[in-house]
């Protein structure tokens, strides 16, 4: 780092490696030998093994579906010359039954003659797995030393689709076909087909503005309108002007594709009809007083009265879903006993569910109790991930209460939070459509037809309108976009959102007053992190605790490590108390991580986590993230240091380092009562009940502002006002504060600091 904004804290002596050994918090440093095995991010340089195949005779952008068929039929693999396996041919047969296959020739013709193509195919049409392969046979990226990229909004999708396509192409995952997601790169020098998250492609573009390593870029699931996909579209619109050889395919699952067409200057559109059956839609006569209860009732009613077919119920979040599953299971037990109902199996589905449990939704429905008895059924209770991105066959009934949990951001109070909100009409149609995948189905909407027409908006708001843009602005700056105001986005956000993002980046010293990227900003953009977290990590050596902050950043970046099952809340809380640190939740999390890395826990980490009510997956992920971040730290030559554990400033240094990133998320206790007041925004908040922090801390910094009927701040740590004035003098410029309790308190602190300084000078 070129210039340092932070004062180094005095510690008793300079850290030395021997002392580190004695530090239990650094135990993990000495036994991780897993730093080897780094995948180079290099790209393909052609047909690596040099075998000549049928593809060598193909004319790039001049092939037909017939040519491709010949190549696919083998007998040797057109991409690596190996003998094709039996499994390959059996998969090939099913592939050729997919709806997209019928239009391969049509696709190729459009693809060859236009630079940008909009492709519409419903989920299950095979577009995600097949279109990229269609492209491979015509684009022949290996001849150019380039790759075909296909982006996915979700990490899991990128991984699983890559795996599937590797199978279909009869190659090893990570060789010809690979994937790249944040904190995990599974590609090699031979890779020609790369599935990746949209965020990953955006990160790559920061160091390769023209995306030169790709010959074709496919943006899949564009209808989901993730933040990264929206930015990529804006970017690609520029890049195609500079790179006439680059081809772009925008893939969407919904029919509002005209919007994409219009945005991309009337690019041609190809639509593949999905295999869908009619779906009958039912509304309720009256609005529901309790949508969860109404949903459960509806599911049970379907089970009791409707013919065979599985049920998909949409709810909003993990807790609600688990709760509903429990209730449905209990009620069906009664129905089976009393009313001779068939068996009903209930599966939850949400993002944070472990993959092996997510997989369960594909289990077949249970068999009837006796032959010829009432049919068995499965019901899947899901968040909106089952709305577009997942295809579950056998669903005939959809129950839609009309809500989903959505991220919202408002720049005026700087809160980014997940809120339960009504879905859009488009979403409701998509949900209903899920019932018609196998045969004609029914969709039960738990609202009136009038409410559908009047209360639901037409289209869901894209993520870019619902997000804090600090990290996006930093990325765009790094991408060389200087005029952020006129950047051509499909749905530009409100000006105040950009205003706030620029201001925050300025306070973080990532942008100077002119709006230019500083060296700190440039460095921060190299971390796949929120700017505040990146700045915190970069400045942590100033506080002699970069090793600890590395763990801390990793822990903040992964899902909640504490598990609190409804059935064992008390035990879980007791276990959490074992790790509690009196100064707050951040240090408590650090305690957890270090305990997790201790030899005792590592003997059987899974069991240890289970015993201590911790999420093994989250901790494992944190471990992985830490490793990746450490590599970036080393690459950027940022010192990895620790304060000796015996030093009494050990914890204070960590808390100070937290302030360096989170100084804009600070609250001060009110003069009376338990409430806190957020600094500058003056919002009244409460400490989240999950905190380990006592109620007597005057100043706290928080990781998250949770918006409900009450405002909560979650993951909090006690700090001192002196540190804030010291570490972030720009933000804590007293002239910028409104009159009030917080200003008075800060003024008093500033005066005290001045007196102390004067006294120190006097002594000298």
């Amino acid at each position: 780092m070129a210039e340092s904004r932070f004062k180094r804290q005095k510690v008793s002596d300079e850290p030395n490696p021997a002392a580190d050994k004695a530090n239990p918090y650094l135990a993990h440093m000495h036994n991780d030998g897993d730093d080897a095995g780094d995948y180079s991010n290099g790209y393909s340089n052609g047909n690596a093994n040099g075998a000549s195949t049928i593809l060598d005779t193909f004319k790039r952008h001049g092939t037909s579906a017939m040519d491709a068929k010949k190549a696919e039929d083998g007998p040797s693999n057109p991409f690596n010359g190996n003998q094709l396996s039996e499994r390959y041919f059996s998969i090939l047969k099913t592939r050729r039954d997919l709806p997209v296959h019928a239009q391969r020739q049509e696709f190729l013709e459009l693809y060859q003659k236009s630079q940008i193509l909009v492709f519409v195919g419903e989920t299950g049409s095979g577009k995600t797995t097949q279109i990229p392969q269609f492209v491979l046979y015509d684009d022949l990226p290996q001849q150019q030393g380039k790759m075909v990229a296909c982006t996915q909004p979700r990490r899991v999708a990128a991984m699983s689709v890559a795996q599937r396509v590797a199978q279909e192409m009869d190659v090893t995952l990570g060789e010809e076909v690979g994937y790249s997601i944040r904190f995990e790169d599974m590609t090699g020098p031979k890779t020609i087909m790369k599935y990746m998250t949209d965020g990953m492609l955006l990160r790559e573009a920061m160091n390769d503005h023209d995306m030169k390593r790709y010959s074709t870029i496919i943006l899949d699931e564009a209808h989901e309108r993730t933040l990264a996909t929206d930015i990529l579209m804006g970017l690609l619109k520029e890049v195609v002007k500079r790179r006439p050889d680059l081809k772009i395919i925008i893939m969407s699952a919904t029919l509002d594709a005209q919007k994409f067409q219009k945005y991309f200057l009337n690019a041609p559109l190809l639509a593949v009809p999905g295999r869908t059956h009619p779906v009958e839609i039912f509304y309720t006569a009256e609005p529901e007083r309790d949508y969860v209860e109404a949903a459960i009732r509806t599911v049970l009613q379907i089970h009791a009265t409707e013919p065979e077919g599985d049920i998909l119920l949409f709810l909003t979040g993990e807790e609600e879903i688990e709760d509903a599953c429990r209730k449905i299971s209990l009620e069906t037990d009664d129905m089976i006993r009393e009313a001779d109902a068939g068996p009903l199996k209930c599966y939850p589905l949400y993002g944070s569910l472990p993959p092996h449990q997510q997989q369960k939704i594909f289990d077949p429905a249970p068999k009837p109790f006796k032959q010829g008895g009432r049919p068995g059924r499965k019901v899947i209770v899901s968040t909106n991930i089952a709305e577009t991105s997942l295809t579950i066959d056998g669903i005939v009934y959809v129950v839609d209460p009309g809500f989903s949990k959505q991220k919202v951001y408002n720049p005026r109070i700087r809160v980014e939070s997940l809120l339960v909100s009504p879905i859009s009409k488009a979403s409701a149609q998509q949900r209903a459509g899920r019932a018609g995948r196998t045969r004609p189905g029914k969709a039960f909407r738990l609202y009136t037809e009038g409410a559908f027409k009047k209360e639901l908006i037409d289209q869901s708001y894209p993520e870019i309108l619902r997000s804090n843009l600090a990290s996006t602005v930093l990325e765009l700056k790094k991408l060389g976009i200087d005029d952020l105001v006129h950047f051509d986005l499909m749905d530009p956000p409100a000006p105040e959102t950009l205003m706030r993002a620029l201001e925050e980046l300025n306070y973080l010293a990532c942008l100077d007053d002119e709006g230019e990227l500083t060296s700190l900003g440039s460095l921060a953009s190299n971390f796949p992190l929120d700017p505040a977290l990146a700045v915190m990590l970069i400045s942590s050596p100033e506080f002699y605790c970069s090793n600890e902050m590395l763990s801390m950043t990793a822990l903040i970046s992964v899902p909640q490590v504490f598990v609190r099952p409804a059935a064992a809340r008390k035990r879980a809380d007791e276990m959490k108390d074992l790790f509690a640190h009196e100064d707050g939740d951040h240090l408590t999390m650090l305690n957890v991580y270090h305990a997790f890395k201790s030899p005792a826990a590592q003997e059987n980490p899974k069991q240890w986590c289970h015993d201590h009510f911790l999420s093994f997956r989250a901790l494992q992920q944190a471990d992985n993230v830490r490793m990746q971040l450490k590599r970036i730290m080393e690459r950027e030559e940022i010192e990895l240091v620790s304060t000796p554990f015996e030093d009494k400033k050990y914890y204070e240094n960590i808390r100070r380092a937290l302030c360096a990133g989170f100084f804009m998320q600070v609250a001060k206790k009110d003069t009376s009562g338990k409430n806190y007041q957020t600094v500058k925004d003056n919002q009244s908040v409460l400490l989240h009940p999950s905190t380990v922090l006592g109620q007597d801390s005057e100043w706290v910094l928080y990781n998250e502002f949770v918006l409900t009927s009450k405002n909560y701040i979650r993951t909090v740590t006690a700090v001192k006002p002196e540190w804030l004035l010291d570490i972030a003098p720009m933000y804590y410029d007293l002239d910028s504060f409104q009159k009030g309790d917080i200003k008075t308190a800060l003024q008093r602190t500033a005066d005290r600091m001045k007196r102390r300084e004067a006294m120190a000078k006097g002594k000298r």
Binding site: F487, A494, S709
Partner: protein
Amino acid sequence: MASDEEEDDYLTMTFDEPSTTRKETSLQRTARLKKEAAERGRIPSKAEKEAAAAAAREKALATELDSSSKGAKMMAKMGFKAGGGLGAAGNEGRIRPIELGMKDDKGGIGADSEKKRKIREAAAQADEGVKRTKISEEEFRERNVKEREEKRVEGLWLGAMKILEGFEEDGDVDQKDGIGPGGKGHSTKRLMKSVNILYRPLVKERLEKERDRRARYDLTQSLSRNEEYTEEDAHDKLALGDEVQELDEEDSELEEYQGLPATEKLDNVVKHLREKYWYCFWCKYRYEDEGMEDCPGLTEDEHG
């Protein structure tokens, strides 16, 4: 400037009314200060705090960001015009951030507006109530008297109907046509519409009461019901079922009759009693002949 001129304008100067409140005494002052201090020191209730927090949030959400901030300056440098949207020319975006919709219950889509509609209706009704209370004291007393009188007449009408029913059931055989031997009123098989309209309301009310009683009885019995009685019950039910149907049937004649003002209803019955049974409701006496010579008159007033 303006205020200076006003001060100089002695001619049109007006004097405040001499203050009627005297200067507060030191005791009053202490009391007032104490009260104010208590108000300040009072710990607000949870609900008050929540409301205050929500109000602060709403206020912040409704306040546009300061256009003199550094962020705004940077944007101005990029060519942003205040009041416009972001984005390429011809595809500008929204001006305002998306509003936050907080949901703190499990109400379904539309339940909120339904609730609001109900609240609105209730408020409208309350408004009407306010209007009604605004009438003068005189009117209020008048209305009270009228209401009381109405009630009294209604009671008299009920009594008159009972007397009429008594005469009809005992006396005229023609009127009994179709009535079983079960005695007055208790027959369930009699057709409601055959009952003289003048006292049909009485019969109907009684039957309705009876039905309710039986329904309650059935409910308490249903759990411990013995199989032996099922046949009888079936009959009962059949009977009841008929009755229920008839009770719930529309009877426009009856409705019309019941809709009349109480005095008119009473007059009708009283007149009928006089003409048919030579009975004066006010004398409480059945005369021997059509002339009813000793009766002072047709109306209550004439009976003093």
